[in-house]
Amino acid sequence: MINQIDFVDCGLLVREVSKNFGPTTVLNVVNLDVRQGEFFTLLGPSGCGKTTLLRIIAGLELPDSGKVFLDGRDITPLPASKRQINTVFQSYALFPHLKIYENVAFGLKARRFSQKDVDDRVGRYLEMLSLGGLEHRYPHQLSGGQKQRVALARALVNEPEVLLLDEPMSALDAHLRARVQADLRRLQRELGTTFIMVTHDQDEAMMISDHLAVMNDGDVLQVGQPRDVYTKPTNQFVAEFLGATNILPAVRHGDRVMTGLGDFFMQHPPDWVKGRLTIRPEHIEVENADQGGANRIKAQVCETLYSGAALDLLLEPEPVGDPNPDFPVRPGQVKVRTYTRDHIDRGEYVNLFFPPSHLVALNDQPF
């Protein structure tokens, strides 16, 4: 039952939250545990419900059912103005008619802090975000990066328990983005505030988060540390959304798994009989000579894509003997990324090794 909370010292809990807009279901039944002081990311494509979930946490949207707890306290019925949660809006939503100082001081003044406290705090946070000297400018006089920092300062100056960030990097150019990501991470660590960020950029999410939740179609599909979610995705959507991957329909026979590429051994064999496996391109090893043995196949290089740090290959696997009557699925092309070779000719045959530890069984629908 959602009324009984066993883990009170958990920072922010979302319990069985659902939301519909008219006939459209935006959030099915969503649960989330965000620990106090961590950087948590909601990752998903546009329309997956991540922003709606963020707005429900902020108090800008009411869930149809379910509850939100902060430090064990039910905050679901509280309006945004009564929550110790502040938001950095995607558009930044700076007040265009107010100077930077007034923008940052807004939350403190609304809560009637003394002028001295307002001055102290605003000064401190402007300094912290390297905005000193811009107090008397108006938002339209600032660059994109400065506006973003003002939005951050305006939220953080209230010293909220949770800071929400809605696609904070979307308006920044790629060059600036990398720096801001690092700054944001450092800031979060220094302040020890819980940050919850929404993004559709999987690289950003993985680089910056302690934990991330992958969402699609109103469901949270998988929650975990970036490394775990990347290397051990539980379903095809997560595997494909977090980066390039190979999906292999498979049938389990005892301890072997049969795929269109051949039979594989796995470190953690699936508990299903029919399903899918996945393996990341960089986890497939390109071997110089045919060493024979399990989990090895031969394939012909169809396309090579050199990107400096790595060489991406698209390969057509060699047919393995007669087509298996139990297993009519034809294998597709295999994606491989190698860091050790920087040149392979198209048309060349190479030997590929699929390490048992990197073959991951997906748990969603059978093919």
Binding site: G59, A80, S81, T87, F89, A93, F95, F106, G107, A110
Partner: protein, 301 residues
């Protein structure tokens, strides 16, 4: 070659010569300038001249310079000092001010209601606001006479509540005047305001709420600054004609509720005292300008 004027310049995608551009600009500004001079500036000067003339025995204008009209307006009349005219002038301002305030108070919920409708019904609501423009103000005001009549529910309800004697109508009087004024001027306030509310950045409202603002603060800090352009236009196009309104007070105010507009109208018709009418008109113009200047200095406009 420095300092030499270029023969050809590029202007908005056209390559042209400077003198041609100047000619074009002149050609475009001259007609409105002439129009304003002939139909606004000159008549205003005429009004000043007229106000300094005197009324002849039979209501004709006698062009002898005299400040009598100004004196009379300020209360130094033929029969000793009286504040009647000044009182009417300030009451007109007061009525216009209250009318404007009520219109503002009604226009905000109204425009927010319209803007938050789905696009199809929004057009319907906008048409409802615009429809009054299709009917003459005299006709509309007479319609209020019917609505406020003694036999209809509004008057009966008021009588039941003891606000008016049994069997009487809700006019003439202050209530009927304000009702008429507000219903006349609400579209003037609502339409310009709608233009601003339609472009409202709702993120700012949410940001204010997120930053602990109360509902009142959300209005004063997030809505008001954003809608000020429309509000300013609305205030001007409501307040200025409301100052000069005489139809509504004539029909709904009865003989006792006179505004400057009625007074001016009387001078030019029944009283046949054009010079004094001109003096009153000037007083109205000056009061309106002063009020606008006051609004401006208080950052209302």
């Amino acid at each position: 070659m420095a300092g030499k004027r270029p023969k050809f310049i590029s202007w908005r995608g056209d390559v042209t010569q400077p003198y041609k551009l100047r000619l074009k600009a002149l050609g475009l500004t001259l007609p409105p300038l002439l129009w304003l001079t002939l139909l606004l500036t000159l008549p205003c000067l005429g009004l000043v001249a007229l106000s300094l003339a005197t009324r002849g025995q039979f209501g004709e204008v006698v062009w002898t310079f005299s400040p009598d009209n100004i004196k009379r307006l300020l209360g130094f009349g033929h029969f000793g000092w009286s504040s009647d005219f000044l009182y009417i002038l300030f009451r007109s301002m007061w009525v216009a001010l209250i009318t404007t305030l009520i219109c503002v108070a009604l226009a905000y919920p109204l425009t927010f209601h319209v803007v938050t409708r789905p696009p199809k019904t929004r057009v319907f609501w906008l048409i409802l606001i615009i429809i009054p423009f299709w009917t003459n103000v005299v006709v509309r005001t007479y319609a209020w006479l019917l609505v406020l009549g003694p036999k209809l529910p509004p008057a009966k309800l008021a009588a039941f509540l003891g606000l008016i004697p049994e069997g009487s109508a809700l006019y003439p009087g202050q209530f009927a005047v304000f009702l008429g004024m507000v219903s006349t001027f609400l579209p003037f306030m609502a339409l310009p305001l709608y233009a601003s509310v339609e472009r409202l950045n709702w993120d700012l409202l949410e940001a204010a709420r997120d930053l602990y603002a109360s509902r009142v603060q959300v209005f004063t800090k997030a809505i008001l600054p954003q809608t000020k352009p429309g509000l300013s236009v609305g205030i001007v196009v409501t307040f200025v004609p409301a100052m000069a309104m005489f139809v509504v007070t004539d029909i709904l105010g009865g003989a006792k509720y006179m505004l400057i507009g009625n007074l001016i109208q009387q001078q030019f018709t029944q009283a046949r005292d054009w010079p004094f009418g001109a003096a009153l008109s000037l007083a109205l113009i000056i009061m309106t300008l002063i009020t606008m200047a006051l609004f401006r200095s208080r950052q209302v406009l």
